[in-house]
């Protein structure tokens, strides 16, 4: 009798396990894959929701429609037909999200959100508040990519038209989180919130920009012999991620170009290898390319008494040419020259972020904190003025 009673209790549990409170039909759900947040004209913010359109995705480009439809499709070849964009001006994110249900028959779901783009026009509080709010959303993963648009976040998202990829959601994921894009920092939502809330609010975010606008960026490079991609042009008008926006004390304080972002990625070892190009010593018009393998993240050693920060890192360098270029007597000489140029470029980058941008984006303070026993001792140390006056000594070893 007792066993039957227990068995009955377990059977009673089965209906509760069916998840009747949470039923979610996939064909009744609209999945947001990207979110753009701009400054609103009439309200505080303008939200651009980009929804995945699975039916267009499954139909692909092989549409079986009429010729008229075909010509229409051809006319809109630059438009991404696998997504649907929706712009809502609202004082708050949740009001905007609720408003989507005013005209969408499907339930909005954010569990497939891959990219969040903020406009550079939004005030500092808006970026921080939205990041924290979105991180705490149950449906949003902490690994969601995050970026800053130079002009309009909505415009960036609407212009995204994935190359060689029919699934926009997958494109965002590959592009932002697993790409070999050396010219933009790979930042995720939780990284940014951690930086804002726990690391003195100094951080970086990749810049989302239209390909043709890249040329408007000023170059950060001042080292002769170092070749940057700055003057290079992308023929496509599609949206790209290049360069990095600098946040100081939670505020957007400036931007750096894609080349500086590459140096940032090298120092952090966010990229394992990349190609660097220098001008030949004997004939400056000749370019010499090398494959740089980053063996470990940079190590920082702070000398408080001498007000200096020593930066050391190991690389593997491989010349991407068939024979020794003219003007060099040996490969050792070639590598020594390249090492000198790279050291200067890193030195220049470090001076730029500490003196000009005044932001500890490499989180060097975290390395010095090791020497302090308590937070009280650390807080009594004036890190900001030390960092801004510190002399950087760069030691790189080529293995």
């Amino acid at each position: 009798m007792k066993n039957k009673f227990i068995l009955l209790l377990f059977f009673l549990l089965i209906p509760t396990l069916s998840g009747c409170y949470d039923d979610k039909e996939i064909d009744e759900t609209a999945y947001i894959i990207a979110l753009g947040i701009d400054k609103g004209d009439n309200e505080n913010y303008s939200y651009t929701f980009q929804f995945s359109s699975p039916l267009s995705l499954s139909n692909g480009e092989s549409g079986e429609g009429s010729s008229q439809e075909g010509s229409e499709k051809q006319g809109k070849s630059d438009e991404n037909s696998t997504v649907s964009n929706l712009v809502i001006d609202a004082p708050d994110f949740y009001i905007a999200k609720n408003m989507t249900n005013n005209f969408l028959s499907k339930n909005v779901d954010m569990s497939h959100l891959k990219l969040i783009v903020f406009s550079s026009q939004i005030d500092a509080g808006g970026v921080e508040d939205h990041s924290q709010l979105l991180l705490h959303e149950r449906e949003i993963r902490p690994h969601t990519a995050i970026a800053v648009a130079v002009t309009s976040a909505g415009e960036y998202i609407e212009n995204v038209n994935p190359e060689l990829e029919s699934n926009t959601s997958k494109y965002y994921e590959l592009m932002s989180l697993r790409s070999n894009n050396v010219y933009a920092p790979a930042k995720r939502l939780h990284d940014f919130v951690d930086d804002m809330a726990a690391k003195n609010s100094d951080s970086v975010l990749p810049i989302a920009v239209n390909g043709k606008e890249l040329k408007n960026f000023p170059s950060d490079n001042s080292i002769s012999g170092w070749i940057t991609p700055h003057s290079s042009q992308i023929s496509s008008s599609h949206s790209v991620l290049s360069g990095m926006a600098i946040f100081k004390d939670g505020k957007l304080s400036g931007a750096m170009d894609g080349d500086s972002a590459m140096i940032f990625n090298i120092l952090n070892r966010s990229i394992k290898n990349c190609t660097i190009t220098v001008a030949s010593q004997s004939s400056p018009d000749e370019t010499l390319s090398f494959r740089l393998t980053v063996l470990e993240p940079a190590a920082y050693n702070t000398d408080i008494e001498n007000n200096s920060i020593s930066v050391s890192q190991n690389f593997q360098l491989e010349f991407l040419g068939l024979r020794l270029p003219q003007g060099y007597h040996s490969f050792d000489e070639l590598y020594a020259y390249t090492q000198k140029i790279l050291t200067q470029r890193i030195q220049d980058f470090l001076n730029d972020i500490s003196r000009s941008k005044k932001a500890d984006i490499l989180d060097i303070r975290n390395h010095l904190r090791l020497r302090f026993a308590t937070w009280e001792e650390w807080n009594n140390f004036d890190w900001d003025s030390f960092y801004q006056k510190a002399k950087f000594v760069v030691n790189i070893d080529m293995v």
């Binding site: 549990l13 409170y21 993963r141 690994h143 726990a198």
Partner: protein, 363 residues
């Protein structure tokens, strides 16, 4: 008063002790260390763990050498008479009820957060109460048997979760090593010993086996593993979520779970986490319900189990959901001093039980 022996295996003793000590890892109690010590949380966790291990060592060394298989109630009765028996029984029942209410509340919130976002809280709570009721109906022997299946699953899930996150953690977040100060980290941080308070429940299920020495070793080994896992979890949490963010989080294990990233196919390990945490919560509740029924039977001769379990379940459900005039803050605040009272009683009885030990039984 001598109690009948159970034919309980060492692996079952090991499992139940491990689950009882690892349960609180899923609750917000593990935030205690970050709140008090900041980046010194792992150091506080190590100090608390060592103190807890010392108490467990002393307690098990004495109690499980009892040749006649007495539990804490019968030992108190032996040394302090009927009054002592009633007093310790009431203290234990109140502790178990408050602990159950705390566990039910925390696990219901966690289950709602992970799996039932649109469901009301009572829905998740009913789920746990019904399961605990059914589990407790199976008596302690049944519970001990089930523990053997849950413990390896729980241990594997926690280890996979922690190692996955630990690989991507920044260990520089652990500095300054003394966090908010030595006084907080080593002094106030010792209050973290309450994290292991449920070990007292072990002294109610007796005698564990016919071999006291094996039992003693099983309890001590399980406690050591559980304490190491707890320290590892707090270390991972402090390394992954930088201070001061670490002190404001909700459900640290859930926050760590969200950090696990194995690519597109293995993004959602929520389901495994939900299973592990639900098993853990249901099991702990079942043990608590079962022990309340056992105390009522041993001390007050209320022997009808089903008739006892129903009002117990209902009361704890109402207490946990705030339908009774005792807030959850009062419940969690009361658990803290009560743990010390019970540990004090155990350590008080310890010197008195010395006389009753016959070394020959240890062989």
């Amino acid at each position: 008063m001598s109690m009948p022996r159970s034919n309980c295996r060492t692996s079952e003793i090991f499992s139940i002790v491990f689950i009882l000590l690892a349960t609180k890892l899923f609750t917000n109690q593990s935030l205690l260390f970050a709140g008090i010590s900041g980046t010194g949380a792992p150091l506080s966790a190590i100090c608390s763990g060592l103190v807890a291990l010392l108490v467990i060592y002393i307690s098990t060394r004495r109690f499980y050498l009892n040749p006649d298989g007495r539990n804490i109630i019968s030992l108190t009765e032996k040394h302090f008479g009927v009054f002592g028996k009633y007093l310790i029984s009431i203290i234990l029942i109140v502790y178990l009820a408050l602990s159950s209410s705390y566990i039910l509340n925390e696990f219901s919130h966690l289950a709602k957060l992970v799996a039932f976002p649109t469901a009301p809280l009572w829905f998740a709570a009913v789920f746990f109460v019904v399961a605990a009721f059914a589990g407790a109906s199976a008596k302690e022997d049944g519970i001990l048997r089930i523990s053997k299946f849950i413990a390896p699953f729980l241990l594997t899930t926690i280890l996979v979760l922690l190692i996955s996150v630990l690989c991507q953690s920044d260990f520089l977040n652990l500095f300054p090593i003394l966090g908010t100060g030595a006084t907080n980290t080593i002094g106030k941080g010792l209050s973290g010993v309450t994290f292991y308070s449920d070990i007292v429940l072990v002294f109610l299920i007796n005698p564990f086996s016919t071999s006291p020495k094996t039992t003693k070793n099983a309890i001590f080994t399980a406690s050591t593993i559980a304490i190491i896992i707890n320290i590892l979890a707090i270390l991972t949490f402090t390394a992954k979520i930088p201070y001061p963010l670490s002190q404001d989080g909700d459900f640290p294990m859930y926050l760590l779970l969200k950090e696990v990233y194995y690519g597109r196919f293995f993004q959602r390990i929520d389901a495994i986490f939900l299973l592990a945490s639900s098993f853990c919560g249901m099991f702990s509740l079942s043990v608590n319900f079962c022990l309340i029924a056992k105390i009522l039977a041993q001390s007050f001769d209320i022997t009808h189990r089903q008739a006892t379990l129903f009002p117990i379940s209902a009361t704890i459900f109402l207490l946990s959901m705030g339908y009774l005039p005792i807030s959850q803050t009062t419940v969690s605040n009361s658990l803290f001093p009560m743990t010390f009272v019970i540990l004090g009683i155990i350590l008080l009885i310890y010197p008195l039980t010395r006389k009753g030990v016959e070394p020959s039984h240890e062989k």
